[in-house]
């Protein structure tokens, strides 16, 4: 084993150590700014009851696990966050969308075995019997726990969905808003 006795050499090593510490400290700080947050982001594209259930179960689960959660509702998914349908002041195609689509989450059908709504009713009954939280309850819990719900402005414009028809406490945005949250997330899903 060698022992360094030369004071010059020791001073040089010390200076080098300080420089390295500085360089690596800066690099780590820079890299840390690129780490994603503890966030889950979900695109809710579907207006099916079962798929909306899946989205809200994941969202409430993520929030319960101490993560933040963003849900981006677009296209048929808008029906999930609608409150009531209004037709006044709308164009004919907008009125058609309003009348053909579920008025709110209580009217959603299921993606398989819907049988014109009978299947959805049965599914809701079975879930109630099995003590599964309802979609309404899950959304309420998610909002209590601070979920960020974003409504797609383009989908609203296409289908003529007005702000007054939507539930309270929503953000409005586009693809950049979704991607901003998705790029900052550890889990991103499209449902």
């Amino acid at each position: 084993m060698t022992t360094i006795t030369d004071t010059d050499a020791i001073a040089k090593l010390e200076a080098r150590l300080v420089k390295l510490e500085q360089e690596y400290g800066d690099r780590i700080a820079e890299l840390e700014t690129q780490l994603p947050s503890h966030r889950v982001t979900i695109v809710c594209f579907s207006g099916d009851y079962d798929r909306a259930m899946a989205a809200f179960i994941i969202a409430t689960g993520a929030l319960a696990m101490g993560y933040e959660c963003s849900m981006y509702f677009t296209f048929w998914g808008l029906s999930v966050i609608k409150n009531e349908a209004q037709t006044s002041g709308k164009s004919l195609p907008e009125k058609m969308f309003t009348m053909m689509l579920p008025e709110n989450m209580a009217k959603l059908g299921i993606s398989k075995m819907n049988f014109a709504g009978v299947g959805a009713k049965m599914m809701r009954g079975i879930m109630r019997d099995k003590n599964v939280a309802t979609l309404d309850e899950l959304m309420e819990v998610a909002q209590e726990m601070g979920v960020r719900i974003i409504s797609c402005t383009m989908a609203m414009d296409i289908m003529g969905v007005r702000d007054e028809e939507m539930k309270d406490g929503l953000d409005f945005g586009g693809v950049g808003t979704f991607l901003g949250d998705a790029m900052d997330s550890r889990v991103t899903l499209f449902i």
Partner: protein, 87 residues
């Protein structure tokens, strides 16, 4: 709202365009102008407001100087963004 404080080297009229085009047009313009230059983007999509905020947070080439709302034609609201190319 006072926009006179910025002198844009390019004005992008994205009014009437839907998501993602206001963002796409702005990004294309911001990549074309010189570093330090300012672009002004006019949009009628209210989603462009949070979209631009999310964009500049991710894209180190640009900075958002200001955003404001103004009444536009036919009762529409117009959203005006000033973006500076910084790298």
């Amino acid at each position: 709202m006072n926009n006179a404080q910025y002198e844009p080297s390019e004005v992008i009229d994205a009014s009437g365009l839907q998501c993602p085009m206001p963002l796409v047009r702005a990004s294309q313009a911001a990549r074309k102008v010189d570093i330090g230059a300012i672009i002004q983007v006019i949009s009628t999509d209210r989603g462009s407001v949070p979209d631009f905020q999310a964009w500049v947070k991710r894209d180190k080439k640009v900075e958002l100087l200001s955003q404001n709302e103004q009444p536009g034609d036919g009762g529409r609201t117009v959203y005006v963004h000033f973006v500076k190319r910084i790298a």
